[in-house]
């Protein structure tokens, strides 16, 4: 999206590329981070515009909302749980869930995590402190744990007949707390922060959160993806791996010989790799046209 795509002929020769381009300016290195914080705080601001200033563009919270008095939006994960618990939902909730689901499918499922979810601000803060304090990674749960937890949320909804996960879900709890009054919700925020700081590196968003796992599944076929478009220019500096909240998603695209697209649903499209790469390896791409072009390159006929 930001760096121009180059044809294969113009590319620097692969592994021999060692000269590092000049280091980018601070602003260029933070541009996606700043855009994400703007989106996160901006959305929160839109929800707060009503209660604080009486301007009711948005009513409700991330679970369900009404925009400009007409557009219904609702969280598809919560609607699915409600459907399992109760056996039926309203058309309004269904339409809202489809709108939100379609949006996140289009822009990358876990765009919710990195561009919208307020818990991301807390866990990024914990990670920032962790890096400064040079703490060891701590507990590394297995890759699939969040999917087991996701399954547990669905099963417990079906078994108890209630949306059990919403009793403790930090994602909606934090956002609802900020918009409707926090109560003891700050203890949950603190718990997530301390867990990520002291127990497990990128523990909550990267290993446990079932909401993120759900949006990861939504995003498995998303058209908007990061591509290691100029991977021949990579100097193996490791900056992208260090900054990425889900580093395992980079490896096949950057180091592999197959597609340059980051295809894993775990990728949050946060754009941090685009931010920090001094060699302009990464860019955002439309997955299906990009993949078609890659196929054409392999077999020109």
């Amino acid at each position: 999206m930001t760096s121009a795509s180059t044809s294969p002929e113009q590319r620097a020769p692969g592994p021999t590329a060692t000269r590092r381009t000049t280091r980018r300016s601070w602003w260029l290195r933070q541009r996606f981070l700043l855009a994400r914080r703007t989106a996160q705080f901006g959305l929160l601001g839109l929800f707060l515009l009503g209660p604080l200033a009486g301007i009711w563009w948005a009513k409700g919270n991330l679970a369900a909302s009404t925009w400009f008095g007409v557009i219904p939006l609702s969280d598809p994960f919560i609607v699915v749980q409600s459907l399992l618990a109760l056996g039926h939902v309203t058309l309004t909730a269904l339409v809202g869930a489809l709108l939100i689901g379609a949006f996140y499918w289009l822009v990358g499922g876990r765009v919710f995590c990195s561009w919208v979810c307020p818990v991301n601000i807390i866990t990024d803060a914990a990670h920032w402190c962790r890096e400064r304090l040079r703490l060891p990674p701590g507990w590394r749960p297995q890759r699939n744990l969040r999917h087991y937890l996701l399954a547990m949320c669905l099963v417990s909804a079906a078994l108890t007949g209630t949306i059990a996960w919403e009793l403790v879900n930090p994602v909606t709890l934090v956002q609802r707390g900020l918009v409707f009054g926090v109560g003891l919700g700050w203890t949950v925020m603190l718990a997530v922060f301390l867990f990520d700081l002291l127990v497990s590196r990128r523990g909550w968003c990267g290993h446990l959160c079932p909401v993120g796992a759900f949006y990861g599944l939504v995003g498995r076929t998303s058209p908007l993806r990061v591509a290691a478009d100029r991977r021949e220019a990579c100097t193996d500096c490791g900056d992208c791996f260090a900054v990425c909240p889900e580093p395992h998603v980079i490896t096949p695209a950057l180091r592999g010989s197959g597609s340059r697209l980051v295809l894993a649903g775990d990728c949050t499209n946060c754009g941090r790799c685009l931010d920090v790469c001094d060699d302009d390896v990464f860019r955002f791409a439309e997955r299906y046209t990009y993949a078609a072009r890659e196929r054409d390159r392999v077999a020109p006929d």
Binding site: G50, W56, K59, G60, N61, A63, A64, S65, T66, P72, S74, D75, I78, V79, S82, A85, L86, H88, V89, T90, T92, A93, G96, P141, Q142, N144, L145, Y148, L149, A151, M152, V155, S156, A157, T160, G161, T162, I163, A164, W165, E166, L167, V168, T172, L173, R176, G177, V179, F180, G181, V182, G183, L184, G185, T187, V188
Partner: protein, 221 residues
């Protein structure tokens, strides 16, 4: 060679079993805690009343997504969302009659705002609402019943007085008393009576209907 392969195989298997057990263990633990917390949170305190049209509590907790749209459209700030740490399911709407009772809006904006089945859309007449039922709990404190004063606070507060509440005259030892009497088939549980009761601790309280209902014969069975 084959011995090594066997070791590798058993190491793999051991890792698989250990990780599987760990995952199953931690997920079950979280699930169990969640279930226990849910059980506790579902035992809604008596003073907390659900909005008009709310499904029965167990169904309500399966339908309500805790979005607060009913709270936003309540013109009297009656409804609020339970905060984390309050003794009912986090994020669900409720009101406390003694603080701010339901004003029984004719267009029932809270029900209209609800995007889920949690607040029943078939409720179009607010007089058919069933948030609870008022019960005279302070038979020894009520100014009218004790004869301290001829107080009609609860009666005057009732938006459907003469249907849901009447002051019944009673004569005892040559004295005349007026006893506030709730007619539960009409009472919507709005809580106006409880809010306006002049006694420091309300002598008339709205209770969840499940607590007051008498299904004749049920306890005999």
């Amino acid at each position: 060679m084959s011995a090594r392969r066997r070791t590798e195989f058993s190491a793999d298997r051991r890792r698989f079993l250990t990780q599987g057990a760990q995952a199953a263990g931690s997920v079950s633990l979280v699930g169990f805690l969640l279930g226990a917390y849910g059980e506790q949170a579902a035992s809604t305190p008596v003073a907390a009343l659900r909005p008009p049209g709310a499904l029965a509590e167990d169904e309500f907790l399966g339908a309500c997504v805790r979005c607060g749209l009913c709270v936003r459209d309540c013109p009297y700030d009656t409804l609020r969302l339970a905060r984390f740490g309050e003794p009912l399911a986090t994020g669900t709407p409720y009101f406390v009659a003694r603080d701010i009772p339901c004003e029984m809006c004719e267009d029932i904006p809270c029900v209209k705002a609800c995007p889920t089945p949690a607040l029943d859309k078939s409720l179009t007449d607010i007089r058919a609402a069933d948030m609870g039922v008022a019960v005279v709990t302070g038979t020894d404190t009520c100014y009218s019943i004790t004869g301290v004063a001829h107080c009609v606070g609860c009666y005057e507060a009732c938006p459907i007085k003469d249907d849901a509440i009447t002051m019944e005259m009673k004569q005892e030892h040559g004295k005349v008393f007026f006893v506030p009497t709730v007619h539960r088939e009409h009472c919507t549980g709005c809580g106006k009576c409880e809010a306006d009761c002049l006694y420091p601790e309300a002598a008339i309280k709205v209770l969840p209907r499940a607590l007051v209902r008498h299904d004749i014969g049920q306890h005999l069975a």
